[in-house]
Symmetry: C2
Subunit: 242 residues, 2 copies
């Protein structure tokens, strides 16, 4: 358990971050940051559009493995809560009402994650979604003061971290992020809001066959196995909005 240190000088931190040349440097940087801020854990992680998880941080390895094995990504209130928000959020303000969520929290604390947490959602191109998280064990009042004091610096840190991570992202190559044509976007959007092909074609005033061509083309561009998959990918890559 750390004792929350004084806010370190941001310029130096950002400068060192900007020199990072690989994920290893980010890992070193985040460990230093953790020490500078005097918190137990600092983590940056994200899910690529292909579903793989990447990240760096100071969580114990067995907790990370457990998280992945148990599929905690799908029930973690931090993830689902931040996914709906734009601004940073204190873990206490998330919805822990479900049984699974409380069990998850117990498990997390049992593996060394702090009882306090503060997570900043970050969104990038193509639906990229990342989280920059601080966690420690302390009182509510202490944590409140700490997060209020450092909120702005942490937002910037999250921003720069993500910028670096995007540079290094391994899935940059197999994820060409091929753009959809306007018609394809319209077609996919209509399907995403529940229209069937006949309705969608009617809405666009084109034949159903033409609409199919768009959907097939979009499916191909997105590397999707079927229409539902294509819509899901288009959504999570931010190519369409519902």
């Amino acid at each position: 358990m750390g004792f929350l240190g004084n806010a370190p000088h941001l310029d130096g931190l950002l400068e060192r971050l900007e020199c990072a040349e690989g994920l290893e440097d980010l890992q070193i940087a985040i460990e230093d940051l953790r020490d500078s801020y005097g918190v137990d854990h600092m983590v940056y992680h994200w899910v690529s559009s292909s579903g793989e998880q990447y990240g760096c941080g100071t969580y114990p390895l067995d907790w990370i493995n457990r998280y992945v094995e148990k599929g905690y990504l799908r029930i973690d209130p931090v993830v689902s809560g931040c996914y709906q928000r734009f601004h940073p959020v204190d873990w206490k303000r998330l919805d822990w009402s479900s049984k699974a969520a409380r069990a998850f929290l117990q498990d997390a604390i049992g593996h060394g994650v702090g009882n306090q947490g503060f997570s900043i959602p970050i969104r990038g191109p193509n639906g990229q979604f990342a989280l920059f998280t601080l966690s420690t064990t302390c009182s509510d009042a202490e944590w409140e003061e700490f997060t209020e004091t450092n909120r702005r610096d942490l937002i910037l840190l999250a921003h720069y971290f993500n910028q670096k991570a995007l540079e290094f992202e391994p899935g940059r190559a197999p994820d060409p992020a091929q753009p959809l044509s306007p018609r394809e976007i319209e077609a996919m959007t209509l399907l995403a809001i529940g229209y069937n092909r006949a309705q969608a074609a009617d809405t666009l005033s084109i034949s159903e066959h033409t609409l199919r061509v768009y959907v097939e083309s979009a499916r191909f561009k997105l590397g999707a196995l079927n229409t539902t998959h294509a819509v899901a990918r288009a959504l999570s890559r931010g190519l369409i909005v519902v």
Copy 2:
């Protein structure tokens, strides 16, 4: 044409921004900011999920009208360029190679937009995308120095602007967000990653019919018209993650 002023004190700016209670206050704030930074124009604008454009800023009204009428949104290299990026970008670094883009730039400058520009992309939940832009008329060197100096403060300003804008956004209405059962989440997730019903049922070691029941149940809870619609809704509500 302004002469680039010294960086104003960020704390005061952000505090006043946090007091804003409506779009009108944001408009006042952005005008003050423009004056504080000594640039010609400062603009924040975004496209809502329903496709409508909102914003506030200091562009001349006839330029804004022309922008909307001519559908410049679709050819503006600032928009399309920032849509692919995460970090702030100087307009000079964008792709102005197409004929339409150069004509657009001429038109913009002719309507009082500066020859220099700096735009920060911002992304929020549900595919929200916004731009925070500064523009002025000055030399490349001056602009370079100005943006380098104020880069971090501007990122924070953009962040806080967007946070306020999200609060004010109309149609932030009810999102009942009925929870899905664990099995339903698993089923929907498998469909979202491209499995067909047989594969998904096999993966979950249940009969295909049982899987169908989950999907139907989820579809009902989500108020969706079909499976694709249900997956789209589950995704955009953050109930499943792909």
